[in-house]
Symmetry: C2
Subunit: 293 residues, 2 copies
């Protein structure tokens, strides 16, 4: 393998490149800007798996109409209370829906102390931590979760029944510092398993399950991801429980798809189908609280 | 070792026994009832570590005045907004404070869709799941967290800096069913490590750290608990992050003790001191949401 050269690209160039890519295929400019914000944020924080490298996937989904180009389409508030709301994303770009939901949650939090917005009809919303960072900019604590397509094999099972279902929290600190948690509730990411396979390395313990539902160190025997905590003995049922918590708050509370209904990439569906099921059915619950009670 | 005999005691007898124990040392009857509810709930759900077996510890703390007998003392609302409140527990029995906070959070949730109450000046509040169960009884989703004294060794460290910091969520389901998550953010409980030691067994992987900050399987070499996920390679930094999230929401947000300030039981303090620091400085953040948005 050749060693890849290192090329530093200014942040603003990446940002404008993403917008131009999406505009070229007819996407709403404001929605494209939200995606550019989310992807650039991921790259500048070193989460390259959720940055510019994903632009091709979003473009494919837009070209396939799996994600709406957003021309004349915005998220709608299905119902709301003083501090809560249910939002339908109407299948536009996920970060544009997420930004709408967070702005609404922060408006409610400014008024009442906390805001919670549950979203359905959404698509992949980028790194969960991006939403907490928006809260921090406004002097608030922010949490965001999303369910995803099934990759997690629950404890005592051999089937993938839940997603990587991330949990995130952003909290402001003194002198411009902050704490940002952004983590999958699986022990690791699918991409890391694949990388170990490509490098011919064995998997660390607690990462993966084979077709028989037994833990495996062999990337070739990989069937599904173990929850955070790995095996039952080392507490994997806790990661499974956390993933279930996110599923309830995102998939079920929003009246959207959950569990196996979010689509299963192992059922012979191609990349686009997999992306479609993933991108069009994931949801978000956003909780905001004013830093000052 | 002799095999312990099995004795079935009716739930109501355990409940009234706890109340009579506390009344005998002058405790407020309503506060004693809240503790009896919490401990009996733990026992009937099979969480014996947090049930009747703990009555002696609460009695000791009450006798030492580490916990207030609650005569003429109730929790107070320090400040509040439409959907949030900061409560001072005034150091009465934890479950009595917790019940006050949950009732307040549910009242706010009924009015605005969600309520969040942060508590300081609290004491050990029993199983975290008891609070979610109260939400379920009222057709709501409930979450409760608490920080605790330091037992968790953070990733790349050899010091115990955070507590077992549990996360809980209770959600109602169809036909009287429900989902209740109640889990420490450490891989296991201190009691389980001690039990392995007593039985002369080695520890499972991912549980414990020795004095050098290295993972150990030897109960005798035990120094601190690993976060959920175990070692760094298997995702332990995620459990550390979750514990930190709870610390922010409970210790810091409430303006109470956090991190090492919650007291360290390894510093030669006796059981009572350890209990005092634990019982008097832990806190709770309770989030409630109406099941119907």
């Amino acid at each position: 393998m050749a060693t890849a050269g290192k090329l530093i690209v200014p942040e603003k160039d990446v940002h404008s490149f993403i917008i131009r890519c999406l505009e070229a295929i007819g996407t709403n400019t404001e929605h494209a800007k939200a995606l550019a914000d989310a992807l650039t944020c991921a790259d500048t924080r070193g989460i390259y798996s959720h940055g510019l490298s994903r632009i091709g996937l979003y473009v494919k989904c837009l070209e396939n109409k799996a994600i709406s180009d957003g021309q004349g389409v915005e998220p709608t508030i299905v119902k709301e209370n003083i501090s809560t709301a249910l939002v339908d994303g109407n299948n536009i770009l996920g970060p544009a829906i997420g930004k709408f939901a967070m702005d609404l949650a922060m408006k409610k939090a400014k008024h009442s102390g906390i805001g919670l917005v549950s979203v359905r009809g959404s698509s992949h919303f980028g790194i969960a931590g991006w939403y907490g960072l928006q809260a921090i900019e406004n002097g608030m604590i922010g949490m965001a979760f999303t369910n995803t397509y099934s990759m997690l094999v629950s404890t005592r099972s051999k089937e993938m029944v839940l997603g990587t279902n991330p949990i995130s929290l952003g909290a402001p600190a003194n002198d411009g510092d902050s704490f940002v948690l952004d983590m999958a509730t699986t022990a690791t990411a699918l991409g890391k398993v694949e990388l170990k396979g490509k490098l011919g390395q064995t998997l660390p313990g607690g990462w993966a399950i084979d077709h028989e539902g037994k833990e495996t160190r062999d990337p070739k025997a990989f069937h599904g991801l173990l929850p955070l905590g790995g095996s039952e003995e080392s507490g994997g049922y806790k990661g499974y429980g956390l993933s279930m918590m996110v599923e309830i708050l995102c998939g079920i509370l929003s009246g959207s798809a959950f569990g196996l209904n979010t689509g299963n990439w192992k059922k012979g569906e191609g990349a686009v189908n997999y992306l479609w099921t993933h991108f069009s059915k994931s949801n978000m619950a956003a909780i905001f609280k004013m830093a000052e009670n």
